[in-house]
C-alpha cells in the first residue's frame, strides 16, 4: 500500500514542476509574442554588428611597375612582462627575442623587465617573416600584433616626389597628397549578426557594401634613373659641401619626368622624424635666380625674331659695359664674340646687348610663352610660379639683367622646360609626373598623354640653339666637364650670386648646369642645381666647375641605361638640312 503522504508529496512536486514549466512557457510566449519592443531592441543590438570594411590605399608605381609605395601587412611584437616575469623567464626570453629581432639584448631586456606591465611593444612594424621567426620560438608572454602600415620599399629614394601619407592614412606630401582622392579608396559597410561568442553568423548578413579599394597611381618616374640622379647628388653634397642640391630628368619629346630629386632627403618610413625644411621639394618648390642658364631663352628669342644670326658679332667691351649709367661685368673679359661665342663663353655683356635688341615687350612676350611666372601644373603640391614682373614694372636696366638670369626667378622645372622646348623643335610640352591611374579592376581612370602647350620658337631656331649649345661642352666652352663620351651634349652653365639680406654676396651662389642628350636629336633633358657649392681642388663655385660634372655623372649611366643612341652619319645629314633651313 502506498503511503498517502508519498502521493501528496509526489503530486506537490509534479504540480510545482508543472507550474514552473507553465510559468516559463507563459514568460517565453510573452517575450516572443508580447509587446517587448525595448527588450527585443536590446537583444537585436547585442546580436547586430555594423562593421566598416577598411581598405588600403592604392599603390604608387614607377613607369616599369616597380613599387614605390604600398600598404604592407606588418606586425608589432608585443611582450607581456607580467607573465614573463612571473615565470622567471625574463633573461632567457630577452636573449631569444634579441637574436630573432636583431636587437641589442639590453634594449629588449629593458622592455621585458617591467614588473606588473601587461603590454609592452618590443619591436614595431616588423615584417611577416621576422614575426614568423618569433612565433616559432613559442615564447610564453610574447605575441605578434597584426596591422597594416604605409610602406615605402626604397626609403628615401624619390622621397620629395612621392611624399607620404600620415598615421591617419591621409596623403600629406608629394604625389601621396596630390593624388589622395584616387589613392585613398572608399571603405565598405557590413551589417550582420553575431553569435554568443561574437563570431559573425554569415547567413544573417543583412547588408554588404563592398569597399572600393584605392586606385594605383603609375608615375612617369623611372626608379633606376632616380637612383642614378640621387647617387650623383649625394656625392655632390659630400664632395662640394653644398647646402642643398636638386635635379630633374625629363623626356624631351613627351614632357614626362623620369627623375626628380632634392637634397637633403629623408626616409619616407620615418617622415615624422624629419624637419619640415628637409621635406621641401626644391625641384619645384624653390624660386632661384637662374644666372647664365637663362641666356638660352633670350638668345633663342632674338634668333627666332631674326634680330641676330648665330655668326653675328657683338663687342663684349673687354668685360665692362655701362648701360643706363650702371656697370655690367663679365666673369672673364672678352672683346668680339659671335652669338655662339656669347653662349660658349657665357658673356653677360653679349647677352645683355641681345636683350636690348629684343626690347622689353618682345623679351617679356617670349619669357611668358616659355611659361615663366606661372606654375607648370606638375602634379605635386607646393609648386612655385617663379617671378616674372610685368613690363610696366621693369626698370631701364632690367632687360640687361634678365638676360643674365637676374631680377627674374624660376624653378628648376621651368628652366628645364625652356631647354626641352629647344630640344623638342620649339614645342613646349606639359611636364607630367603621373602616367596613369588604374583601379583594382584594371580600369584606367586617368591617363596623361603628351600635351603641347605652346611653340615659342621655330624648328630651325631650336636646331640652331642646339648647335650653339653643343659648343658649350666642347673645348673652349664653360661646360666641358659636362661632356659625356660618345655623345654631343647641348647645355649651358649658370652661376648666380645669392641674395643675402637684400644684397648680392660674392661668396655664396647657386650653380647650375642643364643639358640635352644627344644634342642633335635630344631624348633627355637634365638640370642640376647646387646651392652654394665649392670645388675642393680649385675653390671655385661656378656651374661649369661644380654642377657640370654632376650632370655628366647623371647623364652617362642614364644614356647607357635608357639606351640613348648617338646619331649616325645619315642622321647628321638630316639635321644639317634643318640647320640650313630645308624643311
Amino acid at each position: 500500500m502506498i503511503d498517502r503522504g508519498y502521493i501528496w508529496r509526489t503530486t506537490l512536486v509534479v504540480v510545482a514542476l508543472l507550474a514552473v514549466w507553465a510559468g516559463l512557457a507563459v514568460r517565453l510566449g510573452y517575450l516572443h509574442l508580447g509587446a517587448n519592443e525595448g527588450l527585443k531592441r536590446r537583444v537585436l543590438q547585442m546580436r547586430t554588428v555594423e562593421q566598416e570594411i577598411l581598405v588600403g590605399r592604392g599603390r604608387i608605381l614607377d613607369r616599369n611597375g616597380q613599387l614605390l609605395a604600398l600598404d604592407l601587412p606588418v606586425k608589432n611584437i608585443i611582450v607581456e612582462p607580467k607573465v614573463i616575469l612571473s615565470n622567471g623567464q625574463a633573461r632567457a626570453v630577452s636573449a631569444q627575442l634579441a637574436r630573432a629581432l636583431d636587437l641589442p639584448y639590453d634594449q629588449v631586456f629593458a622592455r621585458v623587465n617591467k614588473p606588473g606591465d601587461p603590454y609592452e611593444p618590443v619591436a614595431r612594424l616588423v615584417r611577416e617573416e621576422v614575426a614568423e621567426k618569433v612565433l616559432r620560438l613559442q615564447l610564453k608572454g610574447v605575441y605578434p600584433e597584426p596591422l597594416t602600415t604605409r610602406y615605402y620599399p626604397h626609403g628615401a629614394l624619390g622621397c620629395h616626389a612621392l611624399g607620404f601619407s600620415n598615421a591617419e592614412g591621409v596623403g600629406s606630401a608629394g604625389v601621396e597628397q596630390r593624388w589622395n582622392a584616387y589613392l585613398k579608396g572608399r571603405p565598405g559597410l557590413r551589417q550582420s549578426e553575431r553569435d554568443g561568442i561574437k563570431r559573425e553568423i554569415v547567413v544573417r548578413r543583412k547588408l554588404q557594401v563592398d569597399p572600393q579599394e584605392g586606385a594605383d597611381v603609375h608615375l612617369t618616374l623611372d626608379l633606376n634613373v632616380q637612383y642614378f640622379v640621387e647617387k650623383a647628388l649625394d656625392a655632390a653634397m659630400t664632395n662640394l659641401q653644398a647646402e642643398a642640391a636638386w635635379a630633374i630628368v625629363q623626356e624631351v619629346r613627351t614632357g614626362a619626368i623620369l627623375a626628380m630629386a632634392s637634397r637633403p632627403a629623408y626616409d619616407l618610413n620615418a617622415y615624422s622624424k624629419t624637419a619640415p625644411e628637409t621635406r621641401l621639394n626644391r625641384a619645384v618648390g624653390v624660386n632661384f635666380e637662374p644666372g647664365s642658364i637663362f641666356k638660352i631663352g633670350v638668345v633663342a628669342a632674338a634668333l627666332n625674331e631674326g634680330l641676330v644670326a648665330t655668326n653675328d658679332v657683338f663687342d663684349c667691351e673687354n668685360g665692362m659695359w655701362f648701360y643706363a649709367g650702371r656697370p655690367l661685368k663679365d666673369f672673364h673679359p672678352y672683346g668680339l664674340l659671335d652669338v655662339t661665342g656669347i653662349l660658349r663663353k657665357s658673356s653677360n655683356i653679349g647677352a645683355a646687348k641681345i636683350a636690348v635688341l629684343l626690347g622689353d615687350q618682345r623679351l617679356h612676350r617670349y619669357l611668358s610663352a616659355y611659361g615663366l611666372g606661372r606654375p607648370t601644373g606638375i602634379e605635386v603640391p607646393g609648386e612655385e610660379s617663379g617671378i616674372l614682373n610685368p613690363v610696366a614694372k621693369w626698370a631701364k636696366i632690367d632687360a640687361t639683367r634678365i638676360a643674365m638670369g637676374h631680377t627674374v626667378a624660376v624653378t628648376a622645372l621651368q628652366m628645364l622646360n625652356i631647354l626641352c622646348c629647344i630640344g623638342n623643335d620649339g614645342f613646349l610640352m606639359k611636364s607630367h609626373l603621373v602616367r596613369k591611374v588604374v583601379d583594382k579592376n584594371g580600369v584606367v581612370l586617368l591617363e596623361n598623354k603628351p600635351e603641347a602647350l605652346a611653340r615659342p620658337i621655330t624648328e630651325r631656331t631650336a636646331a640652331q640653339m642646339r648647335q650653339m649649345l653643343a659648343e658649350v661642352t666642347r673645348e673652349g666652352g664653360t661646360g666641358t666637364r659636362a661632356a659625356v663620351a660618345g655623345y654631343n651634349v647641348a647645355g649651358k652653365t649658370g652661376s648666380a650670386e645669392k641674395i643675402v639680406d637684400g644684397r648680392y654676396v660674392k661668396n655664396a651662389n647657386v650653380s647650375s648646369f642643364m643639358g640635352l642628350l644627344p644634342a642633335e636629336r635630344p631624348e633627355i633633358g637634365i638640370i642640376v642645381v647646387l646651392d652654394n657649392p665649392t670645388d675642393p681642388t680649385t675653390g671655385l663655385r661656378t656651374g661649369g666647375i661644380t654642377a657640370a660634372p654632376v650632370f655628366a655623372k647623371i647623364a652617362e649611366p642614364i644614356a647607357r641605361y635608357l639606351d640613348v643612341r648617338p646619331l649616325d652619319a645619315a642622321e647628321m645629314v638630316y639635321y644639317q638640312k634643318i640647320l640650313e633651313g630645308e624643311p
Partner: protein, 105 residues
C-alpha cells in the same frame, strides 16, 4: 487517428528539412567566412611577395649584391653595342604635332 500520425509525420519531415537547410546554410556561411579569411591572408602574402620582388630587382639592391660578391659590372659602352637599323634614318616621334596645334609658330 491515422490522419494525426500522418500529419505528425509530415510536420516531422518538414522540420527535418528545415533543420537540414539551416545546417546547410550554416555550413555555407562558415565556408564563406573561411574563404574570406583565406583571401585576406593570400592578399597579404601577395603584397609581401610583390614587395620582396620589387626590392630584389631594384638597381640599388643589385649594386649592393654585386659589391657584396666582389663582382664589377657596367653598362656596355656604345662601341660594344651592335645595332641593326633601317637604311632610311628614322624621324623622331613628334608627339606635339599629334597632340595639339601649336599656339604660335
Amino acid at each position: 487517428m491515422l490522419w494525426s500520425f500522418a500529419l505528425l509525420g509530415v510536420a516531422a519531415a518538414l522540420a527535418g528539412i528545415y533543420l537540414g537547410l539551416v545546417n546547410a546554410c550554416d555550413d555555407l556561411g562558415r565556408q564563406i567566412k573561411a574563404l574570406e579569411t583565406s583571401r585576406a591572408e593570400l592578399r597579404k602574402q601577395v603584397v609581401n611577395e610583390e614587395r620582396n620582388w620589387s626590392m630584389a630587382r631594384s638597381i640599388g639592391n643589385m649594386e649592393r649584391l654585386l659589391a657584396a660578391h666582389g663582382i664589377v659590372m657596367t653598362f656596355p659602352q656604345e662601341r660594344n653595342i651592335v645595332r641593326l637599323k633601317a637604311a632610311e634614318p628614322d624621324e623622331p616621334a613628334q608627339y606635339a604635332r599629334l597632340a595639339a596645334p601649336p599656339v604660335r609658330d
